[in-house]
Symmetry: D2
Amino acid sequence: MRKVVVAGERQVAFVDVPVPEPRGAWVLVKVEASALCTEYKAYLTGRQLLNPGHEGAGEVVAMAQPGRVKIGDRVVVLPQLACGRCALCLAGDYIYCENELDYGMTFGTHDGSGTLGQYVLKPDWLLPLIPDDVSFEHATMAIDGIGASFGAFEAIDVGALDAVLVTGLGPVGLGAVANARFRNARVIGVEPMPWRRERAAEMGAEAVFAPDEPDLLDKIRVAAGGGVTCAVECSGRLPSQRLCIDAVGRRGRVAFVGEAADDLVIRVSPDLLRKGASLVGSWLYNIGDYPKVMQVIQQSPLIDLLVSHVLPMSQIQAGFELLASGQSAKVVVNPWE
Amino acid sequence: MRKVVVAGERQVAFVDVPVPEPRGAWVLVKVEASALCTEYKAYLTGRQLLNPGHEGAGEVVAMAQPGRVKIGDRVVVLPQLACGRCALCLAGDYIYCENELDYGMTFGTHDGSGTLGQYVLKPDWLLPLIPDDVSFEHATMAIDGIGASFGAFEAIDVGALDAVLVTGLGPVGLGAVANARFRNARVIGVEPMPWRRERAAEMGAEAVFAPDEPDLLDKIRVAAGGGVTCAVECSGRLPSQRLCIDAVGRRGRVAFVGEAADDLVIRVSPDLLRKGASLVGSWLYNIGDYPKVMQVIQQSPLIDLLVSHVLPMSQIQAGFELLASGQSAKVVVNPWE
Amino acid sequence: MRKVVVAGERQVAFVDVPVPEPRGAWVLVKVEASALCTEYKAYLTGRQLLNPGHEGAGEVVAMAQPGRVKIGDRVVVLPQLACGRCALCLAGDYIYCENELDYGMTFGTHDGSGTLGQYVLKPDWLLPLIPDDVSFEHATMAIDGIGASFGAFEAIDVGALDAVLVTGLGPVGLGAVANARFRNARVIGVEPMPWRRERAAEMGAEAVFAPDEPDLLDKIRVAAGGGVTCAVECSGRLPSQRLCIDAVGRRGRVAFVGEAADDLVIRVSPDLLRKGASLVGSWLYNIGDYPKVMQVIQQSPLIDLLVSHVLPMSQIQAGFELLASGQSAKVVVNPWE
Amino acid sequence: MRKVVVAGERQVAFVDVPVPEPRGAWVLVKVEASALCTEYKAYLTGRQLLNPGHEGAGEVVAMAQPGRVKIGDRVVVLPQLACGRCALCLAGDYIYCENELDYGMTFGTHDGSGTLGQYVLKPDWLLPLIPDDVSFEHATMAIDGIGASFGAFEAIDVGALDAVLVTGLGPVGLGAVANARFRNARVIGVEPMPWRRERAAEMGAEAVFAPDEPDLLDKIRVAAGGGVTCAVECSGRLPSQRLCIDAVGRRGRVAFVGEAADDLVIRVSPDLLRKGASLVGSWLYNIGDYPKVMQVIQQSPLIDLLVSHVLPMSQIQAGFELLASGQSAKVVVNPWE
């Protein structure tokens, strides 16, 4: 099978490795579509990635034993390798599992662990079914495209009565716009790249601003018809994190979806206590919400705007460049082309 | 009427001023008990307070017009001067009202605005009734004694299945211990002052540690039988804020009750996103929860341990010293003695 | 002032009575618009109603004392006469207050107690403000038009992921359709009158059936794309109540908005326990939700379809006939014409 | 292996059958303790039960393939045979699964399907782990003893501020008393059998009444200090169902745990709508709550009162008689004695 390797700065290689073999509850999935995510950052900096990819959809083609899926099932490949037995896993919060399985220890290789390749191995219970009327390309949106912000929207309970600020309108942030519109919430976006601001507007954002817009807080307030009730931070950048906290009013809720390890300074009384505000971290979503995520993908008219590019995997370099340029929403590749 | 003035460093004065007159919906309450709160900090530093006090209970003695209370009603005097008309007030979140009334503009004086005096004026709807079987001293616990942490417990939904860390076991933190025990949650305390640690233990805390205890996080984890599920920060100190964030596990919830303006550094991914954790600011409680707060005061066997001292107001200086010494829980004064 | 009296079978009279005088917290409101509700049933049967009407909007014109409103305020006149002091009132659940004030005892007359007249008296706190950009006619939708089903939608937490069955597409049921569409929930309607079925379809219902449609349950299931997740019963009729219970699947939620005193037979195991289903009664909404109800009225594009007729009060008989005929949605009258 | 058969009226037989063989994800569990439930009703009426029992705990002794458990694991045997793949199963609501597996079709026999035998087969994911410090006898309480009412308490969100009526103090109702006390809710019981009333009182019920107690509603109200806020119906009897609905006040919540197919008459307006009340059916609990159910079993001091009898399976007839007599709480048998 062929897989992608990020080999160096702006260098992608394609490597042929043996197709991994299913074992125990690990099932072999033929990847039909895989969405690009943060791998492009490694591509830009030259950090090697030998088995990239965590957003796949495909077909079950082999298994070692009977289990939760069968040959021919069309499935989403959920990320991470949760244990399936701890309290968090029982509660569907597998993404927070603290006893992750060790792929390398199990298979003696990491081949087949990333979705940017033609086959992937995954425990069967992390392979929920794709409805017949959903394409593989659309189905990959169940991970970070629609899924990541869906979890955040559930965590802070966003509905039609809300006006939500979304900071960072990359693939995840544009997914947040789609989720907001699906819930008929008003949505205000903030994003530096013009292409993405335009796409957000096309998807129904009430207003979209550049982060250096003068009087930004005031303009957000006006655009939201009196202030946003909540915010979803998708950029991972400190000024946007701060903007979210400042923009929400009393009883405001902020969800963080964009990964960030930088030091964010908050002050308890003005930022939280006196506002009755809350800050919530959200990583993907509870597995029990998968059918709802898929429902958004089925019913939202915005998914074709969210999947801005579908490329052959052989042109993945062009996909990384697109992400780096800010001229795309979600980029999906087909590993077989 | 006689009122307290914090006149300078460790100086209290008693001043006689005219009894204020009710006007419109503002009702005159004869204060029968008033609980001390942060005023002792001004007392220690010498910052003048001309009308201190925001935790009173008393009897309605005069009104300008018919309204929500009547002469003779025993009432709690809720803090702040919410407008009663905005969306937040309609929702019971009066404490977060952004259109506070102006006492000075209304009455041409601030006499009668603080509960550390013999009379106080308050809009009638902020004067909920005290049940017959609750003393005025106990009723004052409806503000910061039991009330402040009650709101936090509701905000992060603490129940019998939780193990909660309470940092800062001053009057508010000891109230948090009482609330936790009322809900049959396990409670672990952290507090520097030995008297307060002992009182928390007496009130049923599973374990109580000094903040400089070696291997504190591990000891908290063990004492909680595998980690705390949530934390209520009552000290307002940065190391305790950090301790709360670090102590809660995956899906942990932290509520901040202790006022603090200092810079708290958080990092979104490790502190929030990868844990699925949330940080919530809580200032008092929704007015709709007042009957529940009063129910805790009526039914909890710990209220007499929470009200550690009842003093004549003439000895308020001793009360401030008690608070400063860390040798007390909640201190209540009687303005008529 | 002029008020409406339902004098006998299909007989309406207009009676001139003295304008009532404000007293205490009771404020005089000049009624500018009033929506018709169940009064038409009395009109049809000849049951006398001396002070009909509970859905008004108007302007504050006189008060006995300062309070929560001021002269000139544009306000909605909320129904019932809650005490404002009990635990239910404190929690905003005034509609369920068990200590209602007695209008007749207070004023020695019932004139001014119904909104189908030119003036009405109401305690000030039951008169929330109307935003400037909302007409009096639209504002009356804050009671039963949009409000009644809004409370039900909150009670069973209806959102964009839901498919909701609405039985009975009279004025309240059509309001439920508007609420469902505002939340971007799919909505299936059931209603005997063709005019109302058509109006519901025009408002965006996915499908609308007559109650005698063959294979109705199956058709509802198909139209909802696999079954409805919840139902809102607005007809008050037994077969519709049963239909709602039968139509919702596992974990289904049914809210009852239509008043009914008839014997409804349920069987605990098949109807509730084995389905994990719930039945919820909902009467109007929590007063804290008033701003949200008003937000729906401001932002929904369907309100002009919901208010199908605006008539002079002098033609109220035509309004009752419209309601009786099933050829209308909500009918609003202007008491001054 | 030896299994129990209910052979006729008050007749139990012990039958030796082959030990069933694990296949696919079906795992063989050696049953160490099994709790009796409604089987005694068949025993009394003579309805044959060839493979009774659904409340077991034991040890994993054989499996056909690697999966979620391993040999030697101590596990609870959850009831039913959910598919593990549908939306309900994904959400942890496996108990409501509509695509149950067919034991007979899978194994060509029903031997090994009931827990009143020495071995049982079960899909691995329905075998959650028992903590080391919990005995097999106590662990069986995770099904109907503590589990059934735990789900109801979650469904209607019972906490320390509640006063809960429990009707029917058989094994399930006494478990409800244990759950209520664990949550520090006040609990009032209603039960015809004196032994059970006494046991409930011993477990901390505030008051316990016979169903024919004169002025029962009033006495419940007084005992609850002003009315119960919620009710959990565990008897399956119509008068108790009605009592629950009548006893809860405004905003009351009633959960039904006792199975019943009889016609219960409700009237929407007085029973639900005008009270803002809700009726909820609850069948066991979400699998995500299993760790919490186990936490109650570990921490509650009342479990030894709940498990009133532990018998050798050879004396199961005595166990059925105990249940029939109303002189027991939960009866557990050991299949190996």
